[in-house]
Point group: C2
Chain length 155, copies 2
Amino acid sequence: MKNLMIGSLAALFLTTSLSASAQVDPEDQITYRKAGYSFMSWNMGKIKAMAIDESVAWDPAQVQAAANSIAATANSGMGALFGPGTEKSIGDTKTRVKPEMFTDREGVTKVGMAFNKAANELAAAAQTGDKAQIVKAFAATGDSCKGCHDKFRMD
Amino acid sequence: MKNLMIGSLAALFLTTSLSASAQVDPEDQITYRKAGYSFMSWNMGKIKAMAIDESVAWDPAQVQAAANSIAATANSGMGALFGPGTEKSIGDTKTRVKPEMFTDREGVTKVGMAFNKAANELAAAAQTGDKAQIVKAFAATGDSCKGCHDKFRMD
């Protein structure tokens, strides 16, 4: 079930560009994709504070809520927000995306699927409430974020 | 189960301010909350295009993905992003929040719970794939967004 979901969502990531992005102008696509990443960053930070740094008290319900939000964002078809015209900053709407994001389809598929898989596994781990599993899945999710940043985002 | 979840998440919305927001400085809190609302706006727009405007082909999987993202964002404890020091814009980090958001606890609880409930019901409707149910739940979610904007957001 979970694997099926990951597969279909990875497909969604790759195939929604034409339909959904037609509705959203390039500047808004950049704004929305940055919003999605930014909001995931907040949720990753909350899990990190509870599970890794232990600077915030362990709260399984908050970990679950954060992990669900990350997974749902990962599964929302953000590929549609990398449509034509979004390769470069538009005025004040800055993007750090590299040109390779729009040419290296195989590489993008690989990091996109890795991220979807890791985010869904993090949500599943959070569901168990088991800290050791969550720490492991969190690290894997962080690695999958970094996998894309290293390849497709400017410093 | 769903009602239980809504109740506990509304509680989460109200009680996370002290713990989680301590980790995030006020400017980042504003950035993150705006990101959450912006990303929800994209997902609402996708459902609108498919279910209301019919300008994009009906795709139950995309409706589900969008509704899940909205619900997970609604359930992520965004109350923590309205901590002390976030009442006004900070430099270029603009906020349109009204002062009442920080004083009218009862009113905030009411709109927050209404929104959580509507977003979870939209996700449940999306799960059925039934367009009529989705249209109804989408309208209710839109109303709950507006309920907060009217009261707590400047034009």
